[in-house]
């Protein structure tokens, strides 16, 4: 940091900042870079790599006497399983609005949180829900049927 000795100095600015201080700028810039990269690393930590929730795939044994149109809710799961003449299908009971658990009723489903209503096939009939309830993938196996809560299928797919 050199200043021309001929320059007149003010009492308030005894040592003006040199215009080009490559060393100082490089040092500060690398510190800023190190800071931001470390921030990025630290922010990586809170985002879990593996979700700690229980397995999303589970098998379910349907009661033999399940009437057509009546929902069977496997204990501990937010899924409604139905059986009719064409086969078995599962509809998620997690409301597409804000994630409350919808309740099966005579006309379909209703959400207790914000009053969304869904018909028997999960399509929205009422309220703020932006999307129909997804149909979940059902396959034969296990103790009857295996339902995968992560895989959705087209509405109307029955096994």
């Amino acid at each position: 940091m050199t200043t021309k000795p001929t320059e007149k100095r003010s009492r308030f600015e005894p040592e003006p900042m040199p215009r080009r201080d490559f060393l100082g700028l490089a040092a500060l810039a690398s510190m800023a870079a190190a800071f931001f990269v470390s921030m990025f690393g630290m922010l990586k930590l809170p985002k879990a790599a593996v979700s700690a929730s229980p397995a999303k795939k589970f098998s379910v044994a349907l009661p033999d006497a399940l009437p057509v149109g009546e929902a069977f809710v496997p204990p501990g799961r937010s899924v409604a399983v139905f059986r009719d003449g064409e086969g078995v299908f599962a509809i998620s009971t997690v409301c597409t609005h804000l994630g409350c658990i919808v309740k099966p009723n005579a006309n379909g489903f209703e959400c207790p949180c914000h009053g969304s209503g869904f018909s028997k096939d999960g399509s929205v009939t009422k309220g703020p829900a932006p999307k129909p309830l997804p149909w979940l993938k059902v396959s034969k196996g296990g103790s009857g049927f295996v339902i995968d809560e992560e895989a959705t299928v087209k509405t109307g797919t029955k096994v």
């Binding site: 809170p46 879990a48 994630g99 409350c100 658990i101 207790p112 949180c113 914000h114 703020p128």
Partner: protein, 515 residues
């Protein structure tokens, strides 16, 4: 030798006897605070007191200047800090165990129930006080130069206060807490409503990312509880303390409270009671031995009409501190903090309600998750933060409802703000909204046109009218701020008292149908 020994022993004895008085004298660097002069040196020499200026203007000491709202907020924070640390002795942040420990605190721990009640009420008092404090700063136009940055810090403090309160809401791990947080976390996911409508969710799912980082899992569980606990007892209080330090420091550095230009003509110190200490206005102040240039707020105006902060300001502060404590204790004494049954992730509460200060948002969320949860709040947030940079007028600084339009405009804005929000809500409750009339309507239309956005547009229109009518940005700001405040109150009241099971409208909770 014997004589020297005796005198040293004697001296030791004399010193030992005077230890208490010596400690007392050593505590005060400038001598004991008994005169105005030594009190002043005590204030600026004391680590806890030096955030105060040594002298306080009489204008700032009037009750109507601030109504003590800043100190009330601080006092409520201190109360939550003390009671919160006490609760941590017994609280265990693990699902089910957490619920049991709150139950223990409620039923078994000595004074536990009282402490928990105080903690909860002080938190609510703090939320209310911080909102009113913001309104005070706005209506007295105290955000103007040189206080723009402090308004900004206060804006951060508002967010931190709400976040602290919200994270504390989950900790009891009862049904109330669990479902309030589920709804809150899903609001964080609501940008999906937009990405879904645009069909880009699979490439850019910002909503799910926000939710996942907040909860640490795909639903509210043990990871979420420990995260909320960490935020509540560690991260947010540290952020809060740092912001508060800057906030207080800037009040002092920006020249105390905002005052009208002609303040000295309005307030006159009683010559009998307060002897003027300065006979001349100082022409400059020196900082860091004159190396640093710049003016402090006292340059060019004598510090007359000020009184020593000790004791005048300190009596006011202590009075407000104890008053806040009294309010919190009264509330804690008459009303117990709720504790419902253990959280059950499979059975939602009906109705499931967020904390009260978010019920206004939940009311608009019940039409569109994105607009109610993200869109409109963000708009308000950004608008609030930018106020000092958009209104650069000078008329009415430091006065209640100062500026063009004044109290009359605020009155009209209140009427308009209440009337429009009540009218739009009444319409939506009575006749339903778009989906009831057109079942196949695209979601994007509902996201753009819903009661929340309609109210916002009506308010913005009124604000523009006021801005043109008075030819002043301050008038526009007064109108807009008042309207949003009224809208917030209306929506919060509807969400709190008039929404029952399935978020249906009820005139009174006693009409709620049993579910």
């Amino acid at each position: 030798m014997g004589e020297a020994n005796r005198s040293a022993l004697n001296e030791f004895w004399v010193n030992l006897k005077s230890v208490p008085s010596q400690i007392y004298r050593a505590m005060f660097r400038g001598g004991a605070p008994v005169s105005d002069r030594t009190r002043s040196s005590f204030v600026f020499g004391n680590v806890f007191l030096h955030l105060h200026s040594v002298r306080t203007h009489l204008w700032s000491l009037r009750w109507s200047a601030t109504m003590g709202l800043g100190i009330i907020t601080t006092a409520a924070f201190l109360i939550t800090l003390v009671t919160g640390v006490l609760l941590m002795f017994y609280y265990k942040p693990y699902p089910d165990v957490a619920y049991q420990s709150i139950k223990d605190i409620h039923f078994i721990v000595p004074t536990g129930r009282f402490m928990r009640n105080i903690h909860r009420w002080a938190a609510n008092v703090m939320v209310v006080a911080v909102l009113l404090h913001m309104a005070r700063a706005f209506y007295t136009a105290s955000y103007r130069k040189p206080r723009e940055f402090n308004w900004f810090i206060g804006w951060g403090l508002l967010v931190t206060t709400l976040a602290l309160s919200f994270t504390g809401y989950l900790l009891p791990w009862d049904q109330l807490a669990y479902w309030a947080i589920t709804i809150g976390a899903n609001i964080a996911q609501s940008p999906r409503e937009i990405t879904d409508a645009m069909g880009i969710t699979q490439f850019f799912d910002i909503g799910a990312l926000q939710r996942e980082v907040l909860l640490g899992s795909d639903k509210v569980g043990e990871e979420s509880l420990i995260r909320f606990y960490l935020l509540h007892v560690m991260i947010l209080p540290i952020v809060m303390a740092m912001l508060m330090a800057v906030h207080f420091w800037r009040i002092r550095k920006d020249g105390g409270l905002a005052k009208p230009v002609d303040v000295d003509a309005r307030v006159k110190a009683d010559a009998q009671e307060h002897y003027p200490v300065f006979t001349e206005e100082p022409k400059k102040t020196y900082q860091l031995a004159a190396v640093v240039k710049g003016r402090t707020p006292a340059v060019g105006s004598g510090p007359e009409n000020t009184v020593p902060s000790m004791p005048h300001l300190f009596y006011a502060e202590l009075g407000v501190l104890m008053f806040t404590t009294l309010i919190c204790l009264v509330l804690a004494f008459v009303s117990d903090a709720p504790l419902k049954e253990l959280a059950n992730p499979l059975v939602p509460e009906n109705p499931a309600k967020a904390p009260w200060y978010f019920l206004g948002l939940q009311e608009i969320v019940s039409f569109s998750a994105f607009m109610g949860g993200i869109g409109i709040p963000m708009l308000c947030w950004i608008g609030l933060g930018l106020i000092p940079f958009l209104d650069k007028e000078t008329e009415g600084t430091g006065e209640w409802f100062g500026g063009p339009g004044g109290a009359k405009l605020v009155g009209w804005s209140m009427i308009y703000g209440f009337a429009t929000s009540i009218a739009v809500e009444a319409f939506a409750i009575r006749f339903g909204w778009l989906r009831e009339w057109f079942p196949d309507i695209p979601q994007l239309v509902i996201t753009l046109v819903n009661p929340g956005t309609v109210i916002t547009v009506l308010y913005a229109g009124f604000s523009i009218w006021a801005l043109k009518r008075f030819n002043s940005t301050r008038a526009g700001a007064l109108a807009l701020f008042t309207c949003f405040l009224c809208g917030f109150i209306v929506l919060t009241v509807i969400g709190t008292y008039f929404r029952g099971p399935n978020w249906e409208f009820f005139w009174s909770p006693s009409d709620w149908s049993a579910h």
